[in-house]
């Protein structure tokens, strides 16, 4: 499937910016069933400082907001050809050792509810293989945590979201990652794009997770949609949790509020 993506993030600042940086992880890589045919990132209101691969081999860019600017616009436009791998990414590669994905992070630290969830899934799937167990975990999470926007934010932990019983794709992924790690599987966060038939205009990027199993290596799970990724999914960045893979992470010196607006089109 050939997907055309146009992704624009706009920050409006109440007061002219004195000094601010934005770290971007917005460039998909070719590989794992996807081929980046072309890709461009345009910045207005800021200057690219650096381009490098981070420890998860994410293409990363560091941008400085032009001093005095009241708005920065980050626009990615590109085309990606994706084949359906049924979620199977395969063997582990990259700088980071597999064990790095076994450790909890602040966003994926297990509390009582995640421990309970992991224990119940372990019991319910004792005689089943890894993939059945992980799909079961994914379904359990979806039934316990209703998809609902506006209730959680980028700092919400897996435990808090599970306890609250509602959240978005980021929360679903964090819960799955936290529980999978408790069950002994390395797990990682994926940020990316999802083509949704009949919904060209989207207001946020997507997130899912990948869990490593002995048999298949890395396998993707999109808890929010109850499936493993197929040809509609474009992987952009990975990491131990959202913080590692966030599409945009910024820091700003100075006063005043900022307003974020995201415009995203994923088309076939």
């Amino acid at each position: 499937m050939k997907l055309t993506i146009q992704h624009q993030t706009t920050y409006d600042y109440e007061e002219p910016v004195h000094y601010a940086l934005q770290k971007l992880r917005l460039i998909p890589r070719t590989g794992h069933g996807q081929t980046v045919l072309n890709w461009q990132t345009e910045i207005s209101g800021g200057e690219k400082q650096l381009t490098f691969d981070d420890l998860f081999v994410n293409h990363t860019e560091l941008v400085k907001v032009t001093p005095g600017a009241t708005r920065i616009e980050i626009t990615s436009i590109g085309e990606v050809e994706v084949e359906n791998l049924n979620g199977v990414i395969g063997k582990h590669a990259g700088f980071a050792p597999l064990w790095l994905f076994e450790n909890p992070t602040p966003l994926t630290a297990a509390g009582n509810n995640i421990r309970k969830l992991a224990a119940s899934v372990r019991n319910a799937t004792e005689d089943h293989d890894d993939i059945v167990r992980l799909h079961h975990l994914s379904q359990e999470i979806l039934s316990l945590v209703t998809y609902e926007t506006g209730q959680t934010d980028s700092t919400t932990t897996a435990e808090v979201a599970l306890t609250a019983g509602h959240g978005v794709c980021q929360d679903h992924s964090h819960i799955m990652i936290a529980a999978a790690r408790l069950l002994g599987y390395p797990a990682r966060y994926i940020s990316g794009y999802l083509f949704m038939d009949g919904q060209d205009q989207q207001d946020a990027t997507h997130a899912w997770c990948e869990v490593w199993t002995k048999g298949l290596g890395w396998v993707g799970f999109d808890v929010s949609n109850g499936i493993s990724p197929d040809a509609r999914y474009v992987r952009v960045a990975t990491g131990r949790d959202y913080t590692d893979a966030a599409p945009i992470l910024g820091i700003r010196h100075g006063n005043g509020t900022e307003n974020l607006h995201v415009s995203l089109q994923v088309q076939q």
């Binding site: 000094y19 940086l21 770290k23 400082q49 650096l50 381009t51 490098f52 691969d53 981070d54 420890l55 081999v57 990363t60 560091l62 400085k64 700088f95 980071a96 050792p97 064990w99 790095l100 076994e102 450790n103 131990r240 992470l249 820091i251």
Partner: protein
């Protein structure tokens, strides 16, 4: 002078029998007037006060800044003794740099099963953000301060490898400066190797470690300090001054054209090498602790992109972590193919049940240290502890054994200090300072001798009432 038979005294091997390196000094001392020496000792203190060497002691509300006591009797090391130490330190530091490269790249040592994976994967001192980073010139520990103790004529042990941001070098330099002022005649009688070139060597060593590509004609070096409230601020300012480098704080720095640059009167100047005295966790709020006001946002990205040298590299703490310490002989063998020249202190890892049982059974004879602690905080010196303290520590130890290691109470050597009654032996350790650049490992002949001023005390940390001595390495 009364001699304690159970400890090795570096001046008097046995009462009346002065060891070779001290012979000239001892003769001089015998002919000196004690009153004059005491006056000199007071002069030395006044001298330190004037130049402003002070030290903030954590956990003491009253005296924000305190002078570290200085003792005027030098600690003297023979050329032959030093040569062996030098070889041993160089071997150790080279192995540590090889280990750091490996642990942040292929992790061959884990694959080979030479150290347990959990020691790294579960260790807070391991810095994942360093994975895949190639520090310019392959150097991780530009500055090390290896803590050594001595128990006998030929028995030196490494107590700690300080490879994060070792402090104390300013004392080494000022102690010598003071001794040269007080006793110039001694330096004509004895061939003492100079230490005064350290700042220039540091500067050259850092410059040699600069990134290969730089927009500057000559490498620009700066010292990053957390600020005036840091306990080692004096040293930061002192070293910057002595090196002819800028002393900068967080608010002086910005990302400019993909580099880290400092504000100057002529605009922003790109920095090639940052000798940073800010801890890893505070170094980059965009990568580590987001609330840090002491660091430089984005500096880890500049570093990963190869546009700046950080001295020392982040994540070096995994090499001097106390949990890893007991594996250093294996690490040296793994990377150099040689046996360690300098010995490790025998260490019980309390994470291992057998070791824990041994430690609990012998607590009153052992020194127990927190794996991540430093500066003598949170440590138990069994023989000096009360029953109550022992019981309290046992509780902590049982609650989280993996947080502790234990070592025998070493019979640290003594060197005399000038006490009211004349010479009196006190326990000492030694921190030589090591500079590592892509081309070489340089060890300044001398170092910081710390001395436990309290009679019988084995704790030499300045935060725990220790003092310092000038350290003389004799020429051939």
């Amino acid at each position: 002078m009364k001699q304690n038979a159970t400890f090795f005294d570096e001046m008097l091997a046995t009462p009346g029998d002065v060891r070779d390196p001290y012979k000239v000094y001892f003769d001089w001392f015998e002919n000196e007037d004690l009153k004059r020496l005491r006056r000199k000792s007071e002069d030395a203190e006044a001298f330190f006060r004037r130049i402003g060497i002070t030290f903030n002691v954590y956990g003491q509300d009253e005296a924000d800044e305190r002078l570290i006591p200085f003792d005027i009797v030098p600690r003297i090391i023979a050329a032959r003794e030093w040569a062996k130490l030098e070889r041993g330190i160089e071997q150790r530091v080279r192995a540590i740099n090889a280990f750091l490269y490996d642990i942040y790249h292929g992790q061959e040592i884990l694959r080979a099963g030479r150290i347990p994976r959990e020691l790294i994967s579960g260790n807070e001192a391991f810095c994942p953000e360093m994975i895949g980073v190639n520090p310019p010139g392959g150097v991780y520990t530009h500055i090390c301060g290896v803590d050594l103790v001595r128990t006998g004529e030929d028995d030196f042990f490494v107590l700690e490898d300080n490879v994060r941001t070792p402090s104390g070098v300013s004392y080494m330099l000022e102690n010598r400066e003071t001794m040269l002022q007080m006793f110039p005649e001694l330096f004509t009688q004895l061939k003492v190797r100079p230490v005064s070139a350290y700042p220039q060597r540091l500067r050259r060593s850092l410059s040699d470690s600069a990134p290969a590509s730089s927009p500057n004609d000559k490498p620009v070096v700066a010292v990053l300090t957390p600020g005036i409230h840091n306990s080692a601020y004096f040293e930061h300012a002192f070293l910057a001054d002595q090196m002819g480098a800028e002393l900068v704080e967080s608010h002086d720095l910005q990302i400019v054209d993909g580099h880290v640059a400092m504000r100057t009167t002529q605009g922003y100047q790109i920095i090639d090498v940052l000798y940073r005295r800010v801890d890893d966790a505070y170094l980059d709020p965009l990568t580590f602790n987001p609330d840090s006001m002491l660091g430089v946002p984005g500096i880890m990205d500049v570093y990963r992109a190869g546009n700046i040298t950080l001295a020392n590299a982040p994540g070096t703490g995994i090499a001097d972590d106390k949990a890893l310490y007991s594996y250093l002989p294996d690490i040296i063998e793994f990377y150099t193919g040689e046996q360690a020249i300098l010995k490790n202190v025998p260490t019980w890892r309390c994470s291992e049940p057998d070791a824990l049982a041994h430690v609990l059974a012998n607590l009153k004879d052992l020194v127990v240290k927190e794996v991540h602690g430093s500066g003598g905080y949170g440590m138990l010196v069994g023989p000096a502890a009360s029953k109550k303290e022992l019981a309290a520590f046992e509780k902590k130890l049982r609650a989280k054994p993996s947080n502790y290691i234990a070592q025998p109470t070493l019979s640290l050597s003594t060197v005399p200090i000038l006490s009211k009654a004349g010479l009196a032996p006190r326990h000492v350790d030694l921190r030589p300072f090591v500079l590592v650049s892509p081309n070489k490992v340089e060890i300044t002949p001398g170092g910081l001798t710390r001395v436990a001023l309290k009679k019988g005390s084995l704790v030499v940390n300045s935060s725990q009432g220790g003092g310092t001595k000038d350290t003389w390495v004799l020429g051939d």
